[in-house]
């Protein structure tokens, strides 16, 4: 171990690439992990003073693995609340219905549209959060409301599922949301899902009293009842963090592996000497592992604090981007930091693994050979793995049309990844002919000749510079290309599906109110979740209320269609309805008569209206062409996807830069003798720089050509798959701009990294 320490100290430059890769990787994992671990479900502040919550019963787990719940009818809820109030320690049992409401200011609906779906509450629920009335009196009848920040007596305009309304503020409270009289809230919400208990009851007693009528959540368990809109935001954030960590670990292993491979090649002679004077192959492996552990410990020591310090700075931007809920705060996560440190160690050991085992097979005789004699670039394992991945990628591409439509694009991406890895592994084979072709015009100039011959003899060096460029260019082109192409295809597909020219769409609201809809000419589907009992199994379905239906229509994908089904609604009631037909959509959708759905869910909203006549203006509604409507819908998802893309590509380019810079720094440093000879032959620093620059650019060009080629081929395959899926022609969108940016970034890094050691040497002498 002390030998390893001495080695690392003496030739730190050779380990710098590993060090930086590990430090950054650990920082990434520590920072992202801290954010991830900090983002825990919170007990809603509305339930802060309610130590025990009772939720309506579950009907079992749905296909997504989460519980589906039925609602209580208002009378069920009241009856249960009365029973619960008998439990010792309970001060009050408060049913907590919630409904859609948004404030309208200057004719526009305000606030977050998704969160607005549950902004309306019953006045008595104020007690659950321990909120205070600042002034005024409780709302008692329809048209009265208590609100934060508005003085009693003011009139406020709001939008509810019924339509625009003007209410009188009776009280100012320091609580979020809109509080109306209890009966009023109940009427608007339909059913009830939560009864909050104040006081200090024992959960076990509450549980026995509630029995099968409700689920009891006490203390920390209450976080399970996090609002859906908050869960969704945190879920999105978690996706980004997971993607970053996975990609970060993958590229870190890659960078460490290529650094170690190059370092081991440069140290061949030293390792031969060690072997000659008595180091067993096992000792060589252990030495290299020990060196890497030393570097990883140093990297971790830098990375952990870096990540821990940066994480809190990222919280506000994440909240702004809609990837963490408002009020998100980063907390100290010592466990995550430890895990990040250990992961850094594992990443380093995984990276050095091949290099160490290859080095252990270095014969002792290599101590006597002149170093830096280029070994064969293509090793047997490299051939085998390269050809296997290539075959796998090709097979997947060919099989693409026969793969189920849902998995086609994923399969296409997988195939492309395999092909990219294959291209990186097999690159040395094509580098020689490729370099010949590219440098043909300059073969007579001195620099051209040197670059040409240098690259042709240093195939391995070129390959290790080109490989990260290849992966990044390929990855960036492919990812952005795939998403752009799919977006384009979806746009065309959705537009074609809509049988109207103009659409009345929500404007800053989660849906259209009944008042807005009744005035519009055209079909106005109402949306709501319902519980459907089919074949003895009760599950949650997305219901669409359509005019002109007389019974339930199930998906034609659903086998064993019954004559009648039981439908459980948001108001807690269950109604037996006849099945009258089928629809073409997926199995989890169900169509119902609009009137029935409205009757049992007063809070349901309409998604949009396909206009077949001139629209009438209404609050929270705008009229769009089909094209605009589809664009807007894609745009919402697109914004998040773009953010993901930018983060992931930046990350990849960053690590590529590191890999390229490191390879070239080490390679140039290892070629001192060669450049000295060039100087002796009468070349100046300018000539040396021209050679290093030429070679660096050549490597980047090779990587770009290969990566771009594979990506374009894969994109073409994906286009075919999409066309097959949508049964119409799809335009291939190639993201030239992004690709060019990535290539330029790689080129700049490569030129600087290759030239820097030359200039430094120049200064030193």
């Amino acid at each position: 171990m002390s030998l390893a320490w001495t080695m690392v100290r003496h030739r730190f430059a050779a380990f710098a690439g590993t060090f930086v890769a590990i430090a950054l990787g650990v920082a990434l994992i520590a920072g992202a992990g801290t954010l991830f671990a900090s983002s825990q479900p919170q007990v809603s502040e509305r339930y802060e003073h309610s130590p025990v919550l009772v939720h309506s019963p579950s009907v079992g787990k749905g296909s997504d693995g989460y519980d589906d719940y039925r609602a209580w009818t208002p009378s069920e809820a009241r009856a249960l609340a009365v029973r619960l109030e008998q439990v010792p320690g309970v001060r009050a049992a408060v049913p907590d219905p919630s409904f859609y409401i948004q404030r309208v200011i200057n004719g526009r609906a305000t606030g977050d549209a998704e969160a607005a779906k549950a902004q309306g509450h019953a006045w008595s629920s104020v007690a659950l959060g321990g909120y205070r009335t600042i002034m005024g009196a409780a709302p008692e009848k329809a048209g009265e409301v208590a609100l934060r920040g508005v003085a009693p007596g003011s009139r406020v305009e709001v939008l509810t599922a019924r339509g625009p309304e003007t209410w009188t503020v009776t009280a100012t409270v320091d609580a979020p949301g809109f509080f109306v009289a209890d009966d009023e809230a109940q009427a608007r919400a339909g059913g009830v899902r939560v009864i909050g208990l104040t006081g200090n009851p024992q959960a076990a007693v509450v549980r026995s009293v509630a029995g099968a009528d409700g689920l009891v959540f006490a203390g920390g368990e209450r976080t399970k009842l996090e609002e859906e809109s908050v869960s969704r935001i945190r879920w999105l954030g978690a996706q980004l963090i997971i993607a970053m960590v996975v990609l970060g670990v993958f590229v870190a292993v890659f960078v460490v592996a290529s650094t170690c491979a190059l370092g081991a090649a440069q140290r061949r002679r030293e390792i031969g000497l060690l072997r000659a004077i008595g180091a067993t192959p096992g000792q060589v492996v252990r030495l290299m592992y020990a060196e890497t552990v030393v570097v990883a410990v140093l990297g971790g020591a830098v990375g952990v604090p870096l990540g821990a310090l940066v994480a809190p700075l990222l919280a506000p931007p994440l909240v702004d981007a809609g990837l963490e809920p408002a009020g998100f705060a980063v907390t100290a996560q010592p466990l995550v930091l430890t895990a990040a440190f250990l992961t850094g160690m594992l990443v380093a050991l995984a990276g050095v693994w091949t290099a160490a085992h290859r080095s252990s097979r270095v014969p002792a005789l290599d101590a006597l050979r002149d170093a830096a004699v280029e070994r064969r670039a293509m090793t047997v394992p490299r051939w085998i793995i390269g050809l296997l991945t290539a075959a796998g990628g090709a097979a997947l591409t060919i099989a693409l049309p026969s793969i189920p439509a849902m998995q086609q694009t994923t399969a296409a991406l997988g195939a492309a990844m395999l092909l990219l890895v294959a291209a990186a592994l097999l690159a040395p084979v094509v580098i020689v002919p490729l370099v010949r072709v590219v440098t043909w015009p300059w073969r007579r100039a001195a620099t051209g000749m040197l670059v040409r011959e240098g690259t042709l003899t240093g195939v391995r060096r070129v390959a290790s510079t080109a490989a990260p460029v290849l992966l990044t260019v390929g990855f960036a082109t492919l990812l952005t290309g795939t998403i752009a192409t799919i977006e384009q295809a979806t746009r065309i597909d959705e537009t074609a599906k809509i049988p109207a020219a103009m659409i009345a769409a929500p404007d800053g609201t989660p849906g259209l109110s009944e008042a807005a809809v009744t005035r519009q000419p055209g079909d106005a589907p109402l949306v709501s979740d319902v519980l459907l009992t089919v074949g003895g199994k009760t599950l949650s379905y997305q219901a669409t209320g359509k005019q002109g239906l007389r019974g339930v229509e199930l998906s034609k994908d659903l086998t064993g269609r019954p004559a009648q089904v039981e439908v459980g609604f948001a108001d807690g009631s269950t109604v037996r309805l006849p099945v009258t037909g089928t629809h073409d959509g997926p199995a989890e959708l169900v169509d119902l008569p609009r009137g029935v759905l409205r009757q049992h869910n007063p809070d349901a909203l309409t998604e949009s209206v396909l206009l077949d006549g001139p629209a009438v203006a209404a609050a929270g509604m705008k009229v769009l062409t089909v094209r605009q409507y589809v664009d807007a819908r894609i745009g919402v998802e697109g914004r998040i996807i773009d953010l993901f893309l930018i983060v992931l590509i930046t990350l990849t380019v960053g690590y590529t830069g590191l890999a390229v810079a490191n390879t070239l720094l080490m390679a140039t440093a290892g070629r001192r003798a060669e450049f000295r000879a060039l100087r002796l032959a009468g070349g100046g620093t300018g000539d040396v720089l021209r050679v290093t620059t030429g070679e660096a650019l050549l490597s980047v060009a090779v990587g770009t050509v290969l990566g771009g080629g594979v990506a374009t081929a894969a994109l073409a395959g994906m286009k075919r798959a999409t066309e097959h899926e949508l049964k119409q022609v799809v335009d291939l969108v190639v993201p030239w701009g992004q690709t060019l940016t990535v290539v330029l970034a790689c080129a700049v890094i490569a030129v600087v990294a290759a030239g820097a050691p030359v200039l430094r040497r120049q200064q030193a002498t």
């Binding site: 100290r9 030739r11 000497l273 004077i277 008595g278 014969p363 002792a364």
Partner: protein, 260 residues
């Protein structure tokens, strides 16, 4: 000048039954296969007696280095047997062979003998550290003093001259008291006075510590320090001199060999 013992038994070429430090029996080494195959050693028999100093000479490409590598267990012979200190190495695994090397064989190469990251002293103890043996207290310093580098113990190779580096390498090779020390052109990169120091040290090791030394060299003057000179040509033993041979005589034999 040192006088060689006249005891005929030391001429191990003919008497192989006695204990030898290293013995090669019908060793051949063929590089490559088919039309491009090169026979670097052609059924060579050599026996090196303990506490002797043997020089191996011959024209360039005659197989000197190959002989040394095979005899030292750095490389494996294509056919024939190599016995180091009584152990036939043919059947040994890479691991056991490495162990044997670090316990019974020392090396001095023409150049690049030392690990650049380690000091002179650390380089000298390295084989023992690799063997997980505790170096005897003072032994390393004493050995460095013997090669005249007591004051350079903490210097790194880059801070030492070529001759000093070779002396550190000799100290490293000797400190574990190997059965045999192999040197491949140890003076090849040195000037006359540095060469003389190195040769004197090797001679001293034989005389004072009964160390067995086998040295490849081009230089008749260097070979004159040996008890015995083996001349190779085309992978075969073409000639040999034993007893006191002076440089002039060796040079004459060499020239004759090259002209034949």
């Amino acid at each position: 000048m040192w006088r060689a013992p006249t005891d005929a038994k030391l001429d191990g070429m003919t008497i192989t039954s006695m204990k030898t430090a290293v013995e090669l029996r019908a060793v051949s080494k063929i590089y490559g296969t088919g039309a491009g195959a090169v026979t670097a050693l052609d059924a060579v028999d050599v026996a090196i007696a303990p506490a002797s100093f043997t020089a191996i000479m011959g024209p360039s490409g005659s197989g000197k280095s190959t002989l040394l590598h095979c005899a030292a267990g750095l490389d494996r012979a294509t056919s024939g047997d190599v016995v180091i200190d009584g152990v036939p190495i043919g059947g040994l695994s890479e691991r056991s062979l490495t162990r044997l090397r670090r316990e019974r064989v020392g090396f001095v190469f023409q150049a690049f003998n030392l690990i650049p990251a380690l000091t002179a002293e650390q380089n000298v103890v390295l084989p023992q550290r690799l063997a997980r043996r505790k170096p005897q207290p003072g032994a390393v310093r004493a050995m460095l003093a013997e090669v005249g580098l007591a004051d350079r113990a903490t210097h790194r190779p880059s801070e030492l001259s070529g001759g000093q580096q070779q002396r550190v390498a000799i100290a490293r090779a000797l400190v574990s008291r190997p059965a045999v020390l192999f040197a491949d052109e140890p003076t090849g990169a040195l000037d006359t006075s540095a060469s003389r120091d190195v040769l004197r040290l090797l001679r001293l090791a034989v005389d004072r510590h009964a160390q067995t030394v086998v040295m490849v060299t081009h230089d008749p003057y260097a070979a004159a320090h040996a008890d015995r000179v083996i001349l190779l040509k085309d992978g075969r033993i073409a000639d040999h001199l034993s007893g006191p041979a002076d440089a002039a005589e060796i040079a004459v034999r060499m020239t004759r060999l090259e002209q034949r």
